[in-house]
């Protein structure tokens, strides 16, 4: 925390109307509507060659030999590189101390550990020829298959094949726990139960796949890549290749979505500049959808073995959760190890519950490496918590709303320290839940009436109350000790403002919201603000866009930089107005002496003096009107304290979701009839954009709750998907229209009271859908314990409940 972190707009700036809080239409739209956005696939350079990566067709094997001859003989092929050519280029900076070391070469050498692992790269005149040649390399590669590990059970078996020979087992992370107060509660409680809750493997799947265009001229590299963290890509490339960092420029073109999957440093980010240097030509690689499905990070593949102690009155006394994340082969930086810690830390959601014992395990298997995906462990955890609450309600005959009312966080408890140290700074948990209950109650009646005459259809309702940690530390995920981001503000001689940001845009409207912030922070119109980001030469160093962090870090850094610009501008204006700087205020874009409307000077006059008419500056004042702010959010911690607790997120948004489903018993067909969200992300910068984030988040949450599943053959560890045909990406018919309402409880700690909103929508649906299906089928004794909740899963649950004689 810096001492001058500004929390609000400078009081010396007065507006007719504030731009923050308004649904300002997006400035990004026009180019997309007209087909004029430039994505990575739209960029070409003269003399450019195209690259196709050769990917393992084996889940686990030694590479015996690669014959590149036939590929090289193909007309149009310029080069074929294999792992051996880049053996000295590692991908995985050894920064994270709590995990087993993963030594991953940029291209696999000698051994592959998942289908999709890149082990060679072909360079050709165009993508068609490159893919022909890649096929020839693949068919001329001899593998010696090794025993495979397809899931957690196989990976943890006593005689399990090991993925990494220098490890004692397949644990990438192995953190058991033991809490005496939890053990005590299990001894004292009236009852206990144990169960297992599973969330399936799925991922972000932005509609735009990844891509890299790399060029090297006189030792200076330019790398266009579809990443959420351009500066970190640059730093990592420098570290891994020895290229001096100032000679690397990373540019992010327009991005067709990211959702976390594009925060990682992928092999292609490092290999492509290496090839460009080797060949002295610009080279481009565009990922196809099959590659994307098997080689961009997966997520959510977690199992939770749970013991619960509870009393007759429905009081939950203690929860023990052994959380296992199947991280695939683990061969990616940043590694997929952090999500399970988030699950453990936030599993209790918007509830006052601290007697938790969480064991964290990350286990490697012969599947695609897992990593970041919107929600980042939180949807998995909320599914577990709401399943537990519904189960206890059922076992004790407690009303499902009532049991939640007893547990939900109250305003007077703020700040509330969660069991793992998460510091919920504020929120509307209780009133948000009440509002959601009220809203869904009305539609529940309507839907029940609609199906009253159809005995095959059952109707149910489900609830969740979550917290959304935002603006997290980078340390847990990457080993970098930082959580800040940056802004540089320059007022040009015409009085217009240029904002450079360390964060970046992937479709979330950052340019529009940054312009709103800067406009208010400098007392100008948003139309007079230009925002640049996603270019390491044009924007200040920053950590990028992930973890719902842009709102907080942008607000803080823009306010800091604006304060510094304003202080200097006041000095210049004071000199021009022959007054004292402390007396200078800015009203609707004009500087004047407080209490006197005239005379005035404009931003343009001040900036002109600063840049091109320095004779007008006060004696001794440095020319220029450009200032930066590097904002490290207060309250954010990077490492657990002696008590093992850490507040790994700067702020905590909250939300209540509730949904009504209908289930057709004969077919298992499930339909979300209504879905309501009561959302609170603190001060809203642009409510229209926030609603959009919620809609999209809920849709992705529904995708995980009901549809998407990366399935692998348990015998062979081979993927059973190769296209969208086998992976049920929801369409407009699958996602319900939803009602979104907001409370606005400002963060007391963060600038402007902003909290962040990128991920909350995804957190609720799995918990809500499972709860609603259970409720609908309660008379059949059905209990959902895993996602996705598909028609076949429902039919199976109905059959098992009938066979099991109503276990619950």
């Amino acid at each position: 925390m810096t001492l001058d972190s500004p929390m609000r707009i400078n009081p010396m700036i007065r507006h007719r109307a504030s731009h923050i809080g308004r649904a300002v239409p997006r400035r990004e739209d026009r180019s997309s509507l007209m087909g004029r956005q430039r994505y990575i696939a739209d960029l070409k350079l003269p003399g450019m060659l195209e690259v196709s990566f050769v990917r393992s067709t084996e889940p686990h094997a030694r590479i015996v030999s690669i014959d590149t001859g036939p590929a090289l003989a193909l007309p149009g092929v310029h080069a074929v590189f294999t792992g051996a050519d880049l053996a000295d280029v590692e991908l995985f900076p050894q920064k994270i101390l709590y995990i087993q070391p993963v030594h991953q070469p940029a291209l696999a050498v000698d051994r592959v550990r998942y289908v999709g692992s890149p082990y060679a790269a072909v360079v050709a005149t165009d993508r068609y020829v490159a893919e022909d040649a890649a096929t020839l390399v693949a068919t001329h590669t001899e593998f010696d298959p090794l025993p495979t590990v397809a899931d957690l059970d196989q990976a943890l078996a006593d005689d399990a094949p090991r993925l990494f020979d220098d490890w004692p087992d397949n644990y990438l992370v192995n953190f058991p726990a033991d809490k005496p107060e939890v053990r005590k509660a299990f001894e004292e409680a009236d009852h206990t139960f144990s169960d297992t809750y599973v969330s399936q493997r799925q991922t972000g799947l932005p509609l735009e796949c990844r891509g890299v265009l790399a060029d090297e001229v006189d030792g200076e590299f330019t790398i266009w890549t579809s990443t959420q963290s351009p500066h970190i890509v640059r730093t990592t490339i420098a570290e891994m290749t020895g290229i001096p960092e100032p000679r690397i420029r990373v540019i992010v073109p327009a991005m067709g979505g990211g959702f976390g999957t594009k925060t990682h440093i992928y092999p292609e980010d490092v290999v492509m500049p290496w090839i460009a240097r080797k060949l002295g030509r610009p080279v481009r690689w565009l990922e196809d959808r099959f590659e994307n499905l098997v080689s961009a990070v997966h997520a959510r593949d977690q199992r939770h073995d749970v013991d619960v102690a509870y009393d007759d009155d429905g009081t939950i006394r203690a929860i023990r959760c052994k959380a296992y994340c199947d991280v695939g082969s683990g061969e990616i930086f940043m590694p997929g190890t952090a999500t399970v810690f988030v699950t453990g830390g936030v599993l209790t959601g918007g509830y006052d519950f601290r007697n938790m014992e969480v064991h964290h395990f990350c286990v490697v298997t012969n599947k695609t490496p897992s990593g970041a995906y919107r929600g980042f462990g939180t949807p998995e955890g909320m599914f577990v918590m709401e399943r537990i609450i519904d189960r206890v309600a059922h076992l004790t005959g407690t009303d499902r709303v009532e049991i939640r009312r007893r547990m939900i966080l109250q305003e007077e408890q703020m700040p509330y320290i969660m069991h793992g140290g998460g510091r919920v700074d504020s929120g509307s948990h209780a009133k948000g839940f009440e509002r959601a209950v009220e809203m869904i109650g009305e539609s529940l009646e309507r839907v029940r009436a609609r199906y009253a005459d159809d005995p095959d259809v059952r109707v149910g309702v489900g609830y969740t109350n979550y917290v959304e940690p935002t603006t997290p530390t980078y340390h847990l995920t990457t080993g970098h000790w930082a959580g800040y981001d940056s802004a540089t503000l320059r007022v040009d001689p015409d009085g217009a403002v240029r904002v450079g940001l360390g964060t970046t845009a992937l479709g979330q409207g950052t340019e529009t919201t940054a312009a709103q912030l800067a406009a208010d922070a400098l007392g100008v119109d948003p139309d007079d603000v230009t925002v640049v980001m996603g270019d390491t030469d044009r924007a200040p160093y920053g950590l990028g866009a992930w973890g719902s962090r842009s709102a907080i870090v942008m607000s803080g850094s823009i306010l800091m930089a604006a304060d510094r610009v304003m202080t200097k501008a006041q000095e210049i204006a004071a000199h021009m107005l022959e007054a004292a700087a402390d007396d200078i205020v800015l009203t609707d874009g004009r500087f004047h002496v407080a209490g006197s409307d005239t005379p005035t000077v404009t931003w343009s006059q001040v900036a002109t003096a600063a840049w091109v008419r320095t004779v007008d500056l006060p004696q001794g004042l440095e020319p220029g009107l450009e200032m930066s702010g590097y904002f490290e959010p207060p309250e954010l911690e990077h490492l657990p304290g002696m008590d093992g607790k850490v507040n790994a997120a700067a702020s905590w948004s909250n939300g209540a979701h509730a949904g009504v489903v209908s289930v057709r018993v004969s077919t298992g067909e499930i339909k979300i009839e209504d879905y309501v969200v009561v959302h609170d992300c603190g001060t809203m910068i642009n409510p229209m954009i926030i609603d959009g984030q919620v809609h999209g988040g809920v849709a992705q949450g529904i995708a995980g709750a009901m549809f998407e599943h990366f399935q692998y053959d348990p015998e062979t560890a081979r993927p059973l998907f190769a296209s969208f045909m086998e992976y049920l990406y929801p369409t407009c018919s699958d996602v319900p229209m939803m009602t979104v309402e907001h409370f606005e409880t400002p963060s007391p700690d963060q600038p402007l009271g902003v909290k962040g909103c990128g991920e909350g929508g995804t957190i609720g649906p799995a918990a809500v859908v499972a709860g609603a299906v259970d409720d609908a089928l309660s008379d059949l004794g059905v209990e959902i314990k895993a996602t996705p909740v598909t028609p076949s899963a429902i039919r199976k649950a109905i059959r098992e409940a009938a066979d099991g004689g109503g276990e619950r």
Binding site: L33, A41, D132, M688, I689, H695, G696, V698, F724
Partner: protein, 162 residues
């Protein structure tokens, strides 16, 4: 491989694209999406899955919306193609484009062209019921918006009671 691959044989493709006549000699295996993007240079048509599922590459050929990623350029010789670049006139957005903007019916923008071309290809008179609009939109994937605001944009433009 070179000699045996009929896809490498070259064919002449002459089409009208957004009202301009173009003729190119291209490999027989060249996809229409690549023809439009790389040969003609209109990059507003996006490629999201390359297997005909996501609809991002939708263009209008002789009045019908088709998936340009699973069509060969050679197949549409002699046709008239319209792409997203043909919608706005002299920078003035169509009512549907304007509605997408006003309803925040786009975030990353990658799917937008495909949705707009699907919508452009139909007669709104056949889509005056909410369910008809949902069915129509279900041929295109969007990952950002949850379809919520796309649906609203279409309903507001076509006067459908949402």
């Amino acid at each position: 491989m070179m000699d045996t691959n009929p896809g490498l044989r070259e064919v002449d493709v002459s089409v009208s694209i957004n009202g301009t006549q173009v003729s190119h000699r291209v490999p027989a295996r060249l996809l229409l999406s690549d023809f439009i993007r790389d040969v003609v240079g209109l990059t507003g048509t996006h490629v999201g899955c390359e297997h005909g599922y996501c609809g991002a590459c939708t263009v209008i050929v002789d009045g019908d919306a088709i998936r340009s990623c699973s069509t060969l350029a050679a197949q549409i010789d002699g046709s008239a193609i319209r792409t997203v670049e043909d919608l706005a006139t002299d920078g003035e957005l169509t009512p549907m484009q304007q509605a997408f903007h006003e309803n925040h019916a786009m975030q990353c923008g990658f799917c937008t062209a495909g949705f707009l071309m699907t919508l452009e290809s139909v007669d709104p008179d056949g889509y005056q019921e909410k369910e008809q609009v949902i069915d129509l939109l279900s041929g295109n994937l969007c990952r950002c918006t949850g379809y919520h605001n796309i649906f609203n944009a279409v309903c507001s433009t076509w006067g459908v009671d949402s």
